[in-house]
Symmetry: C2
Subunit: 442 residues, 2 copies
């Protein structure tokens, strides 16, 4: 493509993100034009429903129901795919890429499900697919991994990647709300959907974490080999344990990479994070990610992980990068970069359960009679799992008690064996509940 | 310059950063070559003393005492200026830029003192000057401002930019050390120089903050209109106040921008930061910066702010950007970007003392007799400065006491007037000591 001096921008979808992109691009048009040395043409927006009320006013000639009017317009160089979903989004994305265009996307599910196909189209037709907005909203984490910290291999990537979960856990941990009340509040505030499953059961985080792992290590983690847990089962005793021993409750994505042994792990689960860790201080609807690189050490990025404006900031950041590349005549931004990483990723295996090690927290509901504790602790002792801290409560219902405890670092396999035996005890009255304790070292 | 397929890299200076760059570039050569699609030629290093013992071994033919062997070598495309200082560094930088080369620099003083001359040379000769390593070590803050958050105007940039100060204040605040002991420890650990002036009196932070302000707003803040204070005078009563009321003591650079009124402020000073703020959790030798953008909201980056490896990570990040630009045939990376910002910067004025507002903390040493407090508080009342919190101590030396207090938000001018009158009271026994209280809103 010859370096164009007017860059045409098309938008598919006018939800909160699409409206944010339109609004801020319009507001900053002059400023961006002056800094980038080009003319910006906010050319056309495609929507499903022309009549829907929107906070942003689009001039009549610039809005259409036909997405192909946007995608196929030869004066549109950058297509922002902001419709979500994976069927039409895939169709539109591939079509734009086949025309050699730059696609800017906030669509994590699309990238997770159709990543290889999308990047094949990039390689084949010389377009570009940019996705800063797909992970952690306004936080420029994709750029940090790809560019700013390019000198590094990442031993550890750990993130709070879902603002809804983080808001709920912050309200539970700091203000004593129950899960149900905190969820209800999040829904009323518009932070959680009517059906909150994707957020609170970890699916949204699993998508984002998969993208980060693939970006850093070139490997898509198989869903079956990934632990994905949500936050539904966290109760007051867990919050109490966290508070007494100096932890914050966070829903984490943890990606570890062992370079000598050649493995990677990806886990999505609620965890206890020591209060001294900077991630413990990422509260409310914010997201935060710590990257530990072999050269730079630990670097943390935190900020608004969702919302129309924050995500629009990431989309516009990608548009600015696209413009810089388009006007310099560079054929692609960094497609071969990812290409080579994927080649390296082929050599990586997922860790097995003996290799994934952390301290654990465990909550047990026990029959309250003599000898019960001994039976429980005998199982730990048999598997050589050392216990670090214990709290035991009387239960308001006579005849049962709650025990919460933490262990020293132990493998997932060993902990699994302990849980299996605990479940078989008649004195254990409910399914044991576990949390991992995040420790940057383990 | 035609897109070269072998990129020659030269290094000036082999201190801890130079050694880190050499080591990590050598270690990752294959990986980077594969990702970037070029050959890397670690071509030559210039040092002052060939015989000095270094942890990194450079092959004999690749080390020289003559910097021009590096700069003038036509096969060197990227010159890393890592010698520090501003005289020779300026000469070498300008010479490389005149040859149209990319200069990668960790030299904040050079950029502060000779920025306009350097960027003139960039514009004239088509080279490039990259400086991610000059501010906050391994944290990719320059890239975040220039690229990732390009959609934003920054109302507030606040940073902990000196690891030595932060280590000292962390040890004082969390472990009860005196300033003198914490400084001594920092020197023993190699975090502070034998002459620690540049670090603990705020000069180093002033350089870094000036660069951030110029990058974000296009204006070099005049030194005379900038408050620059260090951390020498912080005492136990200040730490005690902070702990009792939920603050951490941090040495901050604060850059505020008011878009409607057209002003900017830059201040470097120790401050009380509320514990709930994420910057309160940036401890030890780490750096942290919060950017508040009008689109994205508050985004924080934190990590290692100094040290050979972290700074080398930033230098290599810039080298990778340079290679991407050189191989795409792009004439410059983003020179005109800064150019246009500087044009906008011309319209900005520095705020005057009425416009700079924050809550203050004040420590007074008072004669201990009836009526003294009334005389003090009368001055606050006269200037309509409201007091929020007070602690009064008996002093071990009979006849004097210490009062620490905080105010509601008030302008620098008003607070200056209060201080002036306090100094004139005979009952005020020492120079009043003030700290600003950081509040993101004010």
């Amino acid at each position: 493509m010859n370096a164009p001096r007017t860059i045409g921008i098309g938008i598919l979808g006018l939800g909160t993100v699409g409206q944010g992109v339109w609004k801020h691009l319009s507001d900053k048009k002059t400023d961006l034009e002056s800094r980038l040395g080009v003319k910006l043409d906010l050319r056309k927006v495609a929507v499903r429903d022309l009549k829907k009320h929107r906070a942003v006013k689009i001039p009549k000639g610039k809005i259409t129901k036909n997405p192909f009017e946007v995608i196929d317009d030869p004066a549109v160089h950058v297509v922002c795919e902001l419709i979500g979903g994976t069927t039409k989004a895939r169709e539109f994305t591939l079509r734009a890429l086949k025309l050699g265009k730059v696609v800017v996307s906030a669509n994590k599910a699309l990238l997770c499900e159709h990543g290889p196909e999308i990047f094949d189209a990039v390689r084949k037709h010389g377009g570009q697919f940019l996705f800063e907005a797909s992970v952690a909203g306004g936080i420029p984490i994709i750029k940090a991994i790809r560019e700013g910290l390019a000198a590094n291999r990442f031993e550890l990537i750990v993130g709070i990647l879902n603002g809804t979960c983080n808001h709920i856990l912050t309200r539970m941990g700091e203000d004593g709300l129950t899960f149900a009340d905190a969820l209800k509040e999040a829904q009323e505030l518009g932070y959680a959907e009517a059906d909150p499953t994707l957020d609170i059961d970890g699916i949204d985080v699993w998508h984002k974490a998969s993208i980060l792992a693939w970006l850093a290590h070139g490997k898509w983690a198989p869903r079956k080999q990934t632990l994905v847990e949500g936050i539904r089962n966290i109760g007051p005793a867990d919050i109490d344990f966290a508070r007494r021993f100096g932890f914050a409750l966070k829903h984490l994505a943890v990606i570890r990479r062992e370079f000598k042994k050649g493995w990677m792990t990806l886990g999505v689960y609620p965890a206890l994070v020591p209060n001294r860790d900077i991630l413990a201080r990422v509260s409310g609807v914010n997201n935060g990610i710590t990257l530990r690189g072999d050269v730079v050490g630990a670097t943390t990025l935190a900020g608004r992980g969702a919302g129309g404006d924050a995500t629009a900031s990431a989309v516009i950041g990608d548009i600015v990068d696209a413009i810089a590349a388009l006007t310099s005549g560079a054929p692609t931004l960094s497609g071969d970069n990812l290409d080579k990483r994927e080649k390296q990723g082929k050599a990586i295996r997922m860790a097995d359960l003996d290799e994934i090690i952390s301290p654990f927290y465990l909550r047990l509901s026990l029959l309250d009679k003599a000898g019960v504790s001994e039976g429980v602790y005998r199982i730990f002792s048999k598997h050589k799992v050392s216990i670090a801290r214990v709290i035991q409560y009387e239960h308001p219902n006579k005849g049962r008690g709650t025990v919460t405890l933490s262990t020293y670092p132990v493998s997932e396999r060993k902990m699994g064996a302990v849980l299996k035996e605990l479940r078989q005890l008649k004195t254990v009255l409910e399914e044991p509940f576990i949390l991992r304790i995040f420790s940057p070292e383990s």
